[in-house]
Symmetry: C2
Subunit: 528 residues, 2 copies
């Protein structure tokens, strides 16, 4: 996700816990490299039936590239066969007279066909155009072996020869991508499922996760290439079922815990390079997800040392969250902000109340694991808070007539509120089931825009025992992405508006995005 000025904190003092940060540093993974060669040469043609209006057609084999002489204004699109994250290298040689002018090249990298079909100059969205993956290159001496220093996230590479000279053309050869990931496929067990579609969903999830696993869990290798708490939580869940790179989860938790603000609050995201920096962005729900993620980690690993180290941070997030609670209710104020989903009009009170209760229940489990007087005190206190907040939710946010949770002063109805209240298990399972079935029927509520919230909807269905509905949702939503050409799952997908982008253009969306990688977790964890 990207952030807006709205959620930007000012005058925050970042503390550094060198002990925790040293542990994170020691857990830094080794990146695994593989060389991937291109599959074929393609054309991208306008096609109103295809996503974003573009479809891909094969026009030659990869081997044809080294027989293709390109002069001024010629171009070629190379398909690397699947989503890749890595470093590009190629050789380029002149054909004709000795090159009497530099070679001017433009390279455009696309995760999706739209990126190599529509000019980046058409982009006029509100987040930085610098995310669009392109290079303008001048090569003074030919032949040349080029190794580009930047990492790209792509399947398609468009090579445009902007200029040579009238005396020579060029040929490309030895094109390859050196992919990088810290995921280890050798520890991966393949899924055998009677439904090929479920196997495909699992496979695409795993590729998504793998391509986001770098020095840390990145949200997206194209954009923002950053460690976000909301993404981390879902990546960690998928990881326990697949790569089991538990040390990478541990590393990320230590990083967040090592850079709190002066109140002990963890940032929504961290920058890793050139040095570790906590972004000046704080999100109510994301901070709580630190505690949730630690609980998941502890339950997956039983790692007591990490629990001891990170418990103070986990506890502190609860304390800070409770400061925004009055009479058991998360206050609907401008002084805090939750992410919940990419939706301009979404009121965040009720879903945040759901996140708080959901987290409190996991915090109690952590407190019990900590034990002793401190653990018992916390457990007692938080159990009381659970009752307060549940009661306050039922009294203030539950609409008896509508049989939905409402949010904010305007008593807004949204999917997000129902989803998080179900996950928080405020109502008994039977009522949760009824609520969700009614939700699926009802079309007029404020809807969902991101796979992030779709994940929590799916898990809510499973929590409420609606297994078939969960499978149907996975098949229609993530399966829809695959039918629309996904090699990895996307940052954004609205089946009813496939050109949806909160940024003003499909060009800038991320098409390999961590928070979208959970079908493998859902399928494997719940045995779907």
């Amino acid at each position: 996700m990207s952030n807006t000025a709205k959620i930007q904190a000012h005058n925050v003092t970042i503390m550094r816990d060198e002990h925790l940060l040293a542990k994170a540093e020691n857990l830094k993974p080794v990146l695994r490299k593989s060389e991937v060669l291109p599959n074929r040469l393609v054309e991208v043609r306008s096609d109103s039936e295809s996503i974003h209006g573009w479809n891909v057609f094969e026009i030659g084999s990869a081997a044809d590239l080294s027989n293709t002489k390109l002069g001024k204004s010629d171009s070629v699109i190379v398909d690397f066969g699947d989503h890749r994250v890595g470093y590009l290298s190629f050789a380029v040689s002149p054909v004709g007279s000795p090159p009497d002018a530099p070679l001017k090249l433009k390279l455009t990298f696309g995760e999706m066909p739209v990126e190599v079909a529509e000019p980046f100059s058409s982009y006029n969205g509100w987040i930085s155009s610098s995310w669009l993956q392109e290079e303008l290159m001048f090569i003074d001496v030919l032949p040349a072996k080029i190794e580009l220093p930047r990492r790209y996230s792509f399947r398609y590479l468009k090579i445009e020869v902007l200029d040579t000279s009238p005396k020579y053309r060029v040929v490309f050869d030895s094109l390859s991508c050196h992919t990088v990931t810290s995921a280890d496929r050798s520890s991966l067990q393949s899924l055998k499922h009677q439904e090929p579609e479920m196997e495909a969903l699992d496979r695409v999830s795993i590729r998504t996760l793998e391509d986001c696993m770098q020095d840390v869990f990145e949200d997206g290798p194209k954009r923002d290439r950053r460690l976000w708490l909301g993404d981390l939580r879902l990546q960690a869940l998928a990881n326990y079922e697949t790569f089991k790179s538990n040390n990478l989860v541990k590393r990320c938790l230590y990083l967040f815990a090592g850079l709190p603000d002066e109140h002990g609050r963890v940032s929504a995201n961290l920058f890793i390079e050139p040095k570790l920096i906590a972004d000046d962005t704080y999100l109510y729900d994301y901070s709580l997800l630190f505690t949730v993620t630690l609980c998941d980690y502890w339950e997956a690993t039983g790692d007591q040392e990490t629990l001891q180290d990170l418990w103070p941070t986990a506890r502190r997030q609860i304390e800070l969250a409770l400061e925004n609670v009055e009479d058991g209710l998360v206050q609907d104020r401008d002084s805090w902000w939750s992410f919940i989903d990419w939706h301009e009009d979404l009121n965040k009170q009720a879903p945040s109340q759901g996140v708080l209760i959901y987290t409190l229940k996991r915090a109690v489990r952590l407190a019990n694991a900590i034990g002793g007087e401190e653990g018992k005190n916390c457990s007692d206190l938080w159990n009381k808070e659970i009752r307060f907040t549940e009661n306050a939710a039922m009294e203030n946010l539950w609409d008896e007539n509508l049989e939905f949770f409402v949010s904010g002063e305007a008593r807004q109805l949204s999917w997000a509120s129902q989803i998080w209240m179900v996950l928080a298990e405020v109502l008994p399972e039977e009522q949760n089931r009824k609520l969700l079935l009614q939700l699926i029927e009802e079309k007029t509520l404020i809807g969902m825009t991101t796979p992030y919230l779709y994940h929590y909807l799916t898990e809510a269905l499973l929590v409420a025992g609606l297994r078939e509905e969960a499978i149907t949702l996975i098949r229609s939503y993530w399966g829809g992405m695959i039918r629309d050409g996904a090699d990895t799952f996307w940052e954004l997908y609205d089946p009813h508006n496939k050109s949806y982008s909160p940024y003003g253009s499909n060009l800038i969306n991320s098409y390999c995005h961590a928070w979208s990688c959970t079908p493998t977790y859902l399928i494997r964890k719940y045995g779907l």
Copy 2:
């Protein structure tokens, strides 16, 4: 100069004389590096009184740069105070929140204000747009220290911040240019002249020469960055009066002699990187200038070993040139091409006849220096050829009524024909003087476009004893460039059409060009 398809040879076999090439390799100079800091910040504003319609105004000191915060769409123009050839480096740091998107930068390098004022996208000329000096850069991690790997030729640097993100801006610092040249200023004697203008002409000539002196004598450090024989000859003349880097002249002569075609003809120019290549371009006058340049070199140095080594090549150029002569006349055919000047309509016969006679006279001097039987035979033969060709010129090319030399079947009248016939000293000095004075009066002849031919006009005036006219010409022509803002002398300058470019745009002209560096030679050699 650049070449056209017209002058491109096909199916030429290049021979390699490893003995000569090894000697050239041993003479490879060490490049001297200096760090140059920017002078000031400027704006370039439209001004119909200024060359190309652009004038430069100071808007701040160089120190102001590190206080200038640049966000999306901001730009700044840095003035490095004089013409520079070298490598750019800078530091760039973020201001504001941690950079949450890459920095997208555009750098534009200009020898002249027009290059940083008019967009390169407006260029639509016939030579490659890849010569336009620009870079598009994406900087993923900030702060960053950037060292650009390419060499640039410039005075002005335009830095455009194409995008950051709404959360941060950037500041540039430690901007510097590491200049490179193989010229050694320590061996330079400064000119003391009672006329400041003559000192300025000398200084700008020397800077032009210095910036073209790299691994070889380049024609222009912006374009074509290549060793051309016509430029070399004039650079060598200027060099003997200034830097006295005689080994660099020697190296270039060995390079040309080491890569003849199968007939022994030297190419018009050589590529040095990635390996030594003779371009498939052959020019009648340039090949002859090899012999002339060797004669100049020998007379400047008395270097007998080089004379012995390169004599066969020098002699061979004469023999090949004489193959195009019938009844004493250079044939006006399409099978050969002379450069002479950048002029579409210029007939090359008479000026080439002049170049031939001029060269024969120097070849005789070389033959006399070689001595022995071979030297005597050549001397006798070429003296005979001088008489034949001079007589043929007078009989066929001299128009008694017009009192001008004519060229080609259409009996074209041009400055070039008169200039080269005067330099060839076909007429007695008194008649040469009369011819040139009449030429200056007469406006209707095919004129001149390049400083290259202006040089030969100036030297023709001096050969004919028209010293004051030569001084007036230097002051009006090269002095005109200085008055129009030249830091180094230009590839092209037409005082009557200051926006002249044979390439279709002022943007692509070279504004530091070897063939324009000769005022220092003319002033110092002739004591002007």
